[in-house]
Every structure is written in C-alpha cells, then in structure tokens.
C-alpha cells in the first residue's frame, strides 16, 4: 500500500513537477500576462512529460524542494486557480458580453424591424393622405381650372368683341400681344411681342386689347397677386 502510496505520491510529484515545469516552460515561452485573456478560450493547455534524473538525489532535498515546490505549487495552484477563476470570470464576462451583444443585436434587430414597420405604416398613412389630398386637390384643381378658364373665356370674349379684323388679313396670320393689367383689370400696357408681319393686323390686335380695357377681372384685388400679365395670341380661325 505504501508503495502504492509512494508510487502514487511519486506519480503525483512527477506529474506535479511536470506540470510546474510545463507551466514555467509555457510562461517562459509564451510570456505571461494577467490581463491577456486566453487566446483560444476553452482549449486545454498541452502537457509534456519530463523524466526524473535521479530519484535518490531528489529525495534528500525533496522535502525542501517539496515544501518549496508545494508552496510554489500552492502558490501556483492558487495562481492557477485564480487564473482559472479569472479565466472563468473572463470567460463568463465574455460569455456575458456575447450574450449581451447578442441581446443587443437582437434588440437592435427588433428595433429596426419595429422602426421599419412604423415607417411602412407611416408611408402607408402618408400615401393614403396623399391620395386623399390628391383627390381633394383634383376636385379643387378642376374647380380652379374651371374658374380660370371661365375667366379666360370672359376676357377672350371681351377682346374678341372688340377685335375688328382687318379685311385684308390673310389666313394664317398670328400676332402675340403682351398685356399688363392693373389691379382692376384695366390695361396699363400692351405691346406686340410677336408680329404677324401685317402692320394692320398687329394694330388691330393691339387696339382690340386696349378697347377691351378694363378686362373683366375679378373684383378681389388679390387676384392680381397671381395674374398681372397676359399674352393674347391673335390667330383668326376662319378667314
């Protein structure tokens, strides 16, 4: 049993020594840093077998050595334990971090998705609103266009009533008269911006606009903010 014990002790010692040597060796080879987390977390440190030189010699100083070694081993063990603890802690931290990261990512993803959904909803809402607005606008615009074309019609009718076409006019004559109006629709300026080439025709057009003054303009002076210039295009359609 004692042999067995001894052998057990020995084996333990050898293993211990080997472990210490390996540790030292590794420390020597690799350097050591408390703060460096294991590069490959979770992977076992590889052990190497060291054969004893002389067990007889070893014995004498074995105790001392053993004590020292034990102390060292204890220290080492503690360090290792600490290290292990620390590693575990680090690992745990990393794990925690990873989890946190994962959680964060998940949250972000969720957030993004929510945001996307919200955006889609908002877009849909906007589209609905735009569609409504478009429909309303279309109605208004039609009304507005009707109002404007009615106004243009009234103005054109008055100018046409006042336009005495020269009898010499040939077919295809075209003249444009640029006309400025005052707030009440009265013509403040008229000039030929595109001549028909026939002075009598141009004159008749200019005169027609002047004769039609004031143009049948809406009473509200604010219309003037929108319309104060007209281009009258004179082109007889039946000659």
């Amino acid at each position: 049993m004692s042999r067995l014990l001894r052998a057990g002790l020995f084996a333990r010692a050898v293993l211990f020594t080997a472990a210490v040597h390996s540790a030292l060796f590794i420390v020597l080879i690799q350097g050591f840093s408390w703060f460096t987390p294991p590069k490959r977390g979770g992977e076992p440190i590889s052990a190497s077998v060291v054969f004893a030189r002389d067990i007889g010699d070893w014995r004498a100083e074995d105790l001392r050595k053993r004590e020292g070694a034990a102390r060292a081993a204890r220290q080492m063990g503690e360090a290792l334990a600490r290290q292990k603890e620390e590693r575990r802690a680090a690992e745990k931290l990393a794990q925690q971090k990873r989890a946190e990261e994962k959680e964060k990512k998940k949250r972000q993803k969720q957030l993004a998705e929510r945001r996307k959904a919200e955006q889609a909803e908002r877009a849909e809402q906007a589209a609905r609103e735009a569609e409504n607005k478009r429909k309303v606008d279309a109605v208004w615009r039609r009304a507005a266009e009707d109002a404007l074309s009615a106004l243009i019609g009234r103005i054109a009718a008055k100018v046409e009533r006042n336009w005495r076409r020269p009898q010499t006019s040939r077919a295809g004559l075209r003249a444009t008269i640029r006309v400025n109006v005052a707030r009440d629709g009265s013509v403040t300026g008229a000039r030929v911006t595109r001549s028909s080439g026939d002075p009598l025709f141009d004159q008749s057009a200019e005169r027609a606009v002047l004769k039609a003054s004031p143009l049948p303009f809406p009473k509200d002076p604010q219309y003037y903010e929108f319309i104060d210039t007209f281009d009258f295009k004179f082109h007889p359609d039946e000659l």
């Binding site: 507005a144 046409e160 076409r165 009898q167 009598l200 005169r207 002047l210 210039t229 082109h235």
Partner: protein
C-alpha cells in the same frame, strides 16, 4: 365660395397649369368681327373770310360712311371738337369706342388759296397714323377732301380708296325728254354734262386711262357707238352699221373695244381695233349675243346670250373659238362684268323677285343677290373693287346707288331734277 378660397383656387389653377405665381396667362383670340370702323371726323376749323370749315369734314365723313367700312360717330355725340393734336384728349373718345379721330384745320392764304391740313389719330394707341398738308384753290377743296378720304381709307384698311374717282351716268328729264351724259365725282357731286341729246343715250364706258368715254347714242335715230375725248370734247363714231350698234367695252389695255353689232343679221360680239379700225367678229350664233365684258387679263370676253332660251352668261376667248356657258340657274342672268380678282362676276339676275344686282361666284356657281330692288341695273365696280355703283328706282324715279360689296351699306345718289340711269365707275387716274 369666399373670396379667399377663390383666390386659392386661382393659385391652384395656375400651379396646375405649371406656371409660377404672377404668371403670364395666355389667351387665344380667334374670332374677331368684321364690323365697320368707328371713326369721328371732327369739323375742321377755318381761319379766313369764307365759311368753308365744314365742307371737307362733311365730305370725308360721307365718303367713309358710304364705303360701308366705317361707322362715323354722330356729331351730337362728339366728346369735344379738337383741331390740333395738343387739344385731343383721348379718353372721352375711348369711352365712345371711337377707334380713330380725324381732325384738321383750314387756313386762307394771302393769295386766296386754302391751306388744309388733317391728321388721322389712333384713339386707343394714342398716336398719329397719318397727317398731311395741302394748299389748294378753293375750287379744289372738294377734290382734296376726296384725296384725304383715300388716305384714311388706305391707312386704316390697307387698300387703295376710290373716293377721288368719277362716275359717268345718263340723266333723263323734261318733256320733250332731254338725255344728258354726265360725269361727276364718285359721290355724285359736281356733275358736268358732256353730251346732251333729245334721243336716248346709254351704255357709257370709261377707257382704262380714264380720258375717254365710249357710249351708245340714238341721236341718228338708231343706236350707234361713239368715243368721246373728255378733255377736248372731240368724238368719233366708231360703229354706225345697219342694225344694232351697242354695248361698247374697253379691253384692259385700252387698245380694243368689244361691241355688239347686228349688221350680219343678228346681234353678235365684235372686236374693234382702235388703231386702224379693224373689225373682227367673235361670236357666231343665231341667238342674241350682247353685253360683252373683258376678263381682267384681257384674254377673254364674257357676254349675255339667250342661246339656251333665257339670258345667261357665256365666255369666249378673245381669239375666238367656241363659247362656253358660265352661269347656270336663275331665269335671267345678264349684263355681267368681272370683279377685279377675276373670281366673281357682278351681274343682273332675276331669281323670281325682280332684277337685282348679284355677285356670281365662278368657282361655286352660286349667286348672291346684293340688292332688293325690282329694276336694278347697270352695276359697275369701283376701281378698287370694294364698291358697286348701280342704277335703281326710288319713288318711281331712276336713281344711282352706291353699294358696299358685302351689300350692307347702300347710299342713294339723287339728282334734283330728272331720273338717273346707266352708270359706269371710272378707273383711277385720267384727271
């Protein structure tokens, strides 16, 4: 709808039409009127001993009215009577919708002649369109007024006026009857008798140069054709054959006269060369062929023939050949002459309501009656083609009437004594 929403509508409409605010709105104007030009002829002031101030303005006003292209404002509606451009205030005339204003002054010169100046003003564009000064003997004041009328007409219508032209016509009065061939201004004023006879005179025809008149006179108790020089009074009988000698018509170049002779049995159209007196027969038909009139290019002659049973217009080349029928429809189409553009004829038609002046479109073969009388005859174009003078009846008496080509304005020219018939409007020039 509130004013605001209406304004908003406008903004919208403008925006809808892709135009910025305070945009230029384009308005198409395609239908004008062809109404008469509203014009005011202000009586001219006169500085001198006489009292001639109203004469030129009154003549100008009457001329413009008669043309059918102008609507002179009644004097009682005049806003003012300015004589110089400085005195003109345009706005009141604008309110009266008068487009043009004629103002002027007369000043007697030391030598007794009269200086007359006129201005044609554009009321809406506020500028002078024409202005001129003449110094003339008092006796020429009337002619000057016609010339001014021509200037106004041309400036405002772009066509030459025909006021300073003359008409030849025949008057009949008295018992026993006296026939007078007279020449007067185109408005019927200042008639001068160039032939007086106890026998009928008809068919006066101006030479294209306006210096001679061809006519038919019965002074030898038969119809014969004469040409009379207007200045010398010298005349020549160019056709006094057996039978009818009638219907003289000058060729556009003035070298030939188409006329109707029945010396070979029945009325046919002949061409008479004025230089040399050569006579050539143009038509050959047993029916009546008469009333020749030249086409504007002188290449052909239209005439009246009853070869279809009723009078209709036919055409034949001035070189002869076969005649082709021109007018169709109606019981009676006669006495035709070409419009200046050669596209239509003015003639006497009877569509069942009387003998009336009508325009016959050669392209469409359509007749448009211009008058509403029962015995209208002898239509004659003014040299610018814008008016027709014809003989009509009013109050049982023969009168002359001036007609605008659209048929809307007719003015009767009466003589104080006697009936008027058979009119021909002179060409330009020859005075």
């Amino acid at each position: 709808m509130s004013a605001h929403s209406r304004i908003a509508l406008f903004a919208l409409a403008l925006a809808a039409m892709a135009r910025p605010a305070a945009a230029v709105v384009t308005i198409d104007v395609t239908r004008g009127t062809e109404s008469r030009i509203p014009i005011a002829v202000v009586p001219f002031a006169f500085e001198g001993a006489g009292a001639a101030e109203n004469l030129p303005a009154a003549i100008i006003e009457a001329n413009l009215a008669r043309s059918g292209r102008f609507a002179p404002l009644a004097r009682e509606d005049f806003a003012a009577r300015p004589q110089t451009p400085e005195e003109v205030r345009y706005k009141p005339w604008r309110l009266l919708k008068v487009e043009n204003l004629v103002i002027g002054r007369l000043k007697e010169q030391k030598d007794g002649r009269i200086q007359i100046q006129f201005r044609l003003l554009d009321v809406f564009r506020e500028r002078q369109i024409a202005g001129q000064k003449f110094t003339v003997p008092a006796a020429r004041l009337r002619k000057t007024a016609h010339q001014i009328s021509d200037i106004i007409y041309e400036k405002l219508l772009g066509r030459r006026g025909a006021f300073d032209t003359r008409i030849a016509f025949v008057t009949v009065d008295g018992r026993p009857r006296r026939y007078r061939l007279q020449i007067a201004d185109a408005d019927g004023h200042s008639p001068k008798t160039i032939l007086e006879s106890s026998r009928p005179v008809l068919s006066p025809a101006w030479s294209p140069d306006g210096r001679r008149l061809a006519y038919v006179s019965f002074e030898q108790n038969r119809s014969m054709v004469y040409i009379q020089d207007l200045w010398s009074g010298k005349r020549e009988r160019i056709a006094g054959y057996d039978g009818i000698n009638g219907a003289p018509a000058w060729s556009p170049d003035g070298r030939r006269l188409a006329l109707t002779l029945s010396k070979e049995g029945n009325p046919e159209i002949y061409l008479y060369e004025l230089a040399g007196g050569k006579l050539r027969r143009l038509t050959r038909h047993t029916a009546i062929d008469t009333e020749p009139a030249w086409s504007p290019d002188g290449g052909g002659v239209i005439f009246t023939s009853n070869r279809s049973g009723r009078p209709q217009i036919y055409r034949i080349s001035a070189r002869g050949g076969a005649a082709e029928r021109v007018t169709f429809g109606g019981k009676y189409n006669a006495g035709a002459s070409y419009a200046a553009d050669g596209k239509s004829l003015v003639l006497i038609t009877n569509q069942g309501n009387g003998y009336r002046v009508a325009l016959y479109s050669l392209a469409e073969h359509s007749v448009r009656e211009l008058t509403r009388g029962r015995h209208d005859e002898s239509p004659s174009f003014s040299p610018n083609g814008d008016m027709i003078m014809y003989a009509s009846q009013a109050g049982g008496r023969g009168v002359l009437a001036a007609l605008s080509l659209d048929g809307r304005v007719r003015q009767v020219i009466r003589t104080r004594a006697g009936a008027v018939r058979e009119v021909d409007w002179s060409p330009y020039g020859g005075q």
